[in-house]
Symmetry: C3
Subunit: 208 residues, 3 copies
């Protein structure tokens, strides 16, 4: 701003001292205006720079919002898969991770149908739900783990008189990237292994 | 930019050849500055145009983000409705789509309580969950369909000794606009038909 | 714009009447251009102001989108907590709100583990789901309430031959800020009170 002030002073002095006062007089309104315009121009330059910064900020925030929106992790799978739609899974002699082989949905590929394990691709809060159907001839015990920690259980006793049972459970879990979630079928237990009954599902509710 | 260069050359020549050198001398700083200002002005015009394009882009992206946010599809309903809160639904002689008549929530009006059918208003991944309560005197078999494809099942056997059973299941499903999802009660089956027990719910997790 | 037109007229008249026509002639292209530039400058000032308004609008909308995004309400808890992981809760002589003491997740602190009550921090549509496991020696009746209104139920009969039962239910509910949701265990009923079996979960699907 100082520079333009000096400039204007020079300009006015120049005009005032002009030998041909007529010219100076006639040009004066224009130059007066010009000085003002130059000041306005400086102000505008500053405004434009400020606006460029604001727009850059907005763009960054939009990218951030879009990224939030575009990380999608959603899966659903049923025990079953190749080999038939009506068979039991188990009983086994040891605790065994259930491999839900029939995959309905696997947005983000975080669920591995070969191992039965879900691996969190990003830190966040996830929802998991599991349901089972099982006959009464054996116990059914399904343990949902986060890494090596037991989180929730659904189970039913064996029963000679009640030939079938159902169970389910659900949980919202905060996970770090790389945390693994899976369902363990306990030893000596079984579930009904069709493509339709015994399921494991989850989705990313929000990144955190 | 070339135009302004030519203009400045003209201007300087004009001043240099001016008969009254005193005037030229005194005005020189101003005109020198003016040329520079005109160049700056040209640059600013370009910057402003670039910024206008960026702001337009940002506005479009914000609209897109808002639209994503504003498509809400959420419903919950229970078998029941008019006629009492404690009655059985079924058994019927044929497979029958369950009409969940008591509507808790129907954001987006995608669930039709008269037909029991949910119709996807937009392509996306949806979550569906169903629960039933039923007495032991008949079998209970609930099949969740996507159009004509069976997706998940919950069912229980009839039992003389166990007078009541519960079941449920859930699934995330990728749907195209217009896909229909509904729950079929199989022939000779029944469920408890109160306003509170046997439910069907769903929501749009994300458009895709 | 009128002002600049007047200015240009003045400027041209000044040049036209100049005694030294040579100077006027040589400066003319520059001044002609200057007038045009001043007009352009006025137009640019208007454009910049319009753009500033648009950027301010965009910023406000981004803040709005971010606020939507940042209100997170998610909880999961199991009956259980201090005192052991295998015990029954109930039967009680009166209806009793279940206090799910073992908290898995409580983003937004809307669930109060001391009272078993969830209080909606913002108006919106919420998802709630409850699951129970219970032995056969007593009935299990779990009622999910919104304030004083019964919404959904899961229950099972007592049974001497079936020694254990499971049940669950889920619902999407539109709540106003301050609405309370909780699960009532009916008098003379019981559930299995471990840290893992009998759970209550919910999350804010969307603000409305």
């Amino acid at each position: 701003m100082k520079f333009t002030t000096v400039l204007c002073v020079l300009l006015f002095s120049g005009l005032a001292l002009a030998q041909d006062e007529a010219i100076a007089f006639r040009l004066l309104p224009c130059f007066t205006n010009l000085c003002e315009r130059i000041r306005e121009f400086d102000a505008m330059t500053e405004k434009l720079q400020a606006l460029e910064t604001k727009v850059k900020d907005s763009e960054n925030q939009i990218v951030e919002l879009k990224n939030r929106e575009t990380t999608k992790v959603i899966f659903s799978a049923a025990v079953g898969g190749e080999g038939g739609q009506s068979r039991t899974v188990g009983p086994f002699n040891t605790n065994t991770i259930l491999t839900y082989e029939k995959v309905f949905t696997n947005i983000g590929n975080a669920y591995n149908a070969a191992t039965g394990t879900f691996t969190a691709p990003v830190a966040g809060v996830y929802y998991f739900t599991m349901f089972f159907h099982a006959g009464g001839s054996h116990e059914a015990q399904l343990y949902l783990y986060k890494n090596s920690d037991l989180v929730i259980v659904t189970h039913d006793h064996r029963s000679d008189t009640d030939t079938a049972d159902n169970g389910g459970n659900a949980v919202f879990l905060q996970l770090q990237q790389g945390d693994q979630v899976y369902v363990m079928l306990l030893e000596k237990c079984h579930v009904w292994g069709s493509d339709f009954h015994t399921t494991f599902s989850g989705f990313l509710v929000t990144q955190m």
